[in-house]
Symmetry: C2
Amino acid sequence: MNLKRYLPVLQWATQYNRGQATSDLIAAVIVTVMLIPQSLAYALLAGLPAQVGLYASILPLVVYALFGTSRTLSVGPVAVVSLMTAAALAPLAEIGTSAYLAGAVLIAVMSGLMLTVMGVMKLGFLANFLSHPVISGFISASGIVIATSQLKHLFGVQSSGHNLLDIGRSLAESLNDTNLPTLLVGGGALLFLLWSRRYLKPLLRKLGLAARAADILTKTAPILAVLATTLVAWALRLDEQGVKLVGTVPSGLPSFTMPSLDPALWSQLAVSALLISVVGFVESVSVGQTLAAKRRQRIDPDQELIGLGTANLSSGFSGGMPVTGGFSRSVVNFDAGAETPAAGAYTAVGIALATLFLTPVIAWLPQATLAATIIVAVATLIDLPALGRTFRYSRTDFGAMLATILLTLVHSVEAGIIAGVALSIGLFLYRTSRPHCAVVGRVPGTEHFRNVLRHDVELCPKVTFLRVDESLYFANARFLEETVMDLITREPELTDLVLVCPAVNLVDASALESLETINERLRDAGVRLHLSEVKGPVMDRLKDTELLCHLGGRVHLSTYEAWQALTNLSPA
Amino acid sequence: MNLKRYLPVLQWATQYNRGQATSDLIAAVIVTVMLIPQSLAYALLAGLPAQVGLYASILPLVVYALFGTSRTLSVGPVAVVSLMTAAALAPLAEIGTSAYLAGAVLIAVMSGLMLTVMGVMKLGFLANFLSHPVISGFISASGIVIATSQLKHLFGVQSSGHNLLDIGRSLAESLNDTNLPTLLVGGGALLFLLWSRRYLKPLLRKLGLAARAADILTKTAPILAVLATTLVAWALRLDEQGVKLVGTVPSGLPSFTMPSLDPALWSQLAVSALLISVVGFVESVSVGQTLAAKRRQRIDPDQELIGLGTANLSSGFSGGMPVTGGFSRSVVNFDAGAETPAAGAYTAVGIALATLFLTPVIAWLPQATLAATIIVAVATLIDLPALGRTFRYSRTDFGAMLATILLTLVHSVEAGIIAGVALSIGLFLYRTSRPHCAVVGRVPGTEHFRNVLRHDVELCPKVTFLRVDESLYFANARFLEETVMDLITREPELTDLVLVCPAVNLVDASALESLETINERLRDAGVRLHLSEVKGPVMDRLKDTELLCHLGGRVHLSTYEAWQALTNLSPA
């Protein structure tokens, strides 16, 4: 049983049948066709040689098929993670050096280790700290940065930078050197891809294809652009016109790569690897969950960490780059009918064949074509209307989202994501540090108690019922002290104060001390402190404490009980 | 009115009378006598020349009297802040250099700026993030580190280090060089102080003094130790025996000091200055609040930030060191009858007179005596039984406390406090990320609903009432999705699911998206989603959202209403 939990392959492989194998094979062929240009393009985006993208699309897919829990997730290089890899490596080494390549391998290995350890320790909940608005803002902003970073390849100029300001400045300076043949190839590819995205599917439908087939074929349009521009580049010897090609790619399967063991490098890359791990995991799990829900399957987030972790380890040790589950590929895999993770393993075979036999062709592929495929792919990531939706619902969530977007655009991806997480947590703590407190009264003739400011309720002058709408913990412990002391200075006749606690899910040690302080101060002021509607788990904790031993008043099961007991004691 | 808020001096100075002046003067004399050795000792602890401690006890006291809201807080150098200052400066400069002194001045100025800005922006709540167990553990551990760091002065040896391991190792190596006359002076002072702490008060009572007078006189015992050992050092020319004395102290009032404007230095000290600010503020406010509560006065935490901020600014600009409200001094000030902050200003005059006329005497004071006063003072800070109390109440709070203590002891004060804050926040988020959820049923014959696992309640097979005992926000949004999906896979007959929300104080944008997802998935599964007991502020927010437009079921005011409506629709 336990083995099945850690090796999900055992859950499906034993009942694997020919029908599933056929479906998986068809999906694998389609995904392979889609993954070849993507893996080359994302290697380019990360500043790495083209073959690194291919290497990262072989072993990781096989390993994920063994350890992953999603039936249809397609693992490999993805845009946002590639951008983050490039940003992490920029301060360490020049693109094209062996140190740069070694850094990418190390990030994959470190990220793999981190994810695997998090999975074994069941720390998947850590990913929850990336709130939806932050991750959505981050991905939109990254998409914008990625798209602009590819313009240099489209124009055939040199430029650098990892945020919008640097890229823009650098691009503006170099645009005079635009290489016309490059722009023609890249622009042509871009226009074709944009056209195909909108018109290819209707065209294929008109030609008689079924909706699903038309949909899938449309998504493989990039391979057409790749083939066409490669052919043009070869026929016209475009390299002699200054068009940058992918160039010589070593042919053959990846070999074992030993990652650097330099502790200084490990500590320099630690934060980046952690961020890449978490962002990659969150992206991958949300794709996986969406697809699983459609077929009423489940994925196990902790085991997903192990699946992605081992995939990254295998990527690093085979000379690849960081990988995760990609959105568009996984959707194609799902739509093409993949039924088990075996489809991923078959895709790996497809990519392995490409590294063995297609490298002479790939050498003639213009970089501008890859840039065009990246731009079209990331355009779908950018969701700016989400800003408006979030703004209307919650100003604090909007604040965290906007900070993430702005910092990602003008500073760096890492600053963006860190600021987003810190702000989400900080704003949440701020909100809970000034909890909503309401004096409540009895809804006449019922056992219900409601806020005196919102409802027409009965009150009792000597007894105040104060409902605290928040768990009591360190961040609001002092606030509660202040609220209660304010209340009793305003109502000199008070003899009893009832804290109504149905919304108090936790009383931590700081709040316990504050409640003891409140109890003592109230006793000095001649007021008894009562509690009512204390939740079971909270009561279990409070049972043996000083607070209950010295409580001026009593603990009442319900507020109505307290009302009956206290309004009888001191009739209004 | 507004001016009075920012200049609390206006609240009391206009009605200041002779009676108050007399009380304040008496308190000031006693506090001055206590503050002279303390200010010298804490300068020594911070690795600074003796006069810096005196300078920090003049202007800051006057400024706090103008801007502070506590009537009896005694501002000046304190042990924990001095230790943190030394730890912050250690990597930057050698003790005794002008760079070291400039660093201390800059920390005071930066900390002053930070506190003042936080006060003006009403960011006092930030201090809440230091939970009680963390601050208590931090102060205990700092006390231990401070006490051991003073042993070198007691033995007259060289040693260094800012954590227990380094100090211990360094001390063990140098203990062979112990200077016997130093040990005799220091040991004698230590024994006298320990004796006076236990036996001086009873003795004074026997001699006929009133309880309060005996108490106060006991607390000024350090000045007796200072006078006696100074006299011995002078009479026996102990400096020629290798006893380290305070030495020549420039006589005269402090002069204006321009802090360094080097941006590199500012950024190096920023984190330290922030930690010193927050720790100093928390310590000071809790002392101030305790004393204020005894006389039914109030202090305003945001204005306290301004009071302490301006005090630190004035300390820095007059060549002093970081200051805050000290516990023991403030208690003495309170007990000695201080009625207004004027007592602080009078104390400042006392210290100013000391810098003018007492420096020739101070020059003969043995450092070992100061070390003895520090050891005795910080011994009262160490509260190890708090560890046991916290352990019994809450394992998570205990974890944060223990981490703070251990890291402070074996690594550094900054690591300790940062780990404590990070762990408190992390553990809180972890606890809320897996909220307590309970299926509830009706307590027969009532309108109350309780956990089916804890109470004997009525259920309805096709309707499940799920109570969520936590605010819904990013950290637990995904958990809710999983819980609900688990529930409906376990109960295939389900037609209606009611989320009972009396403990849901907040639904943020992430949770809103999750609720929308849950609603859609439930609809696909043929289950209607209902909400009940939604709090007013939460309902206000949800009103205009997609969720309520597309909700499968309805929003019920009370759970009983939902019960009536749904159990009629589908009779059990």
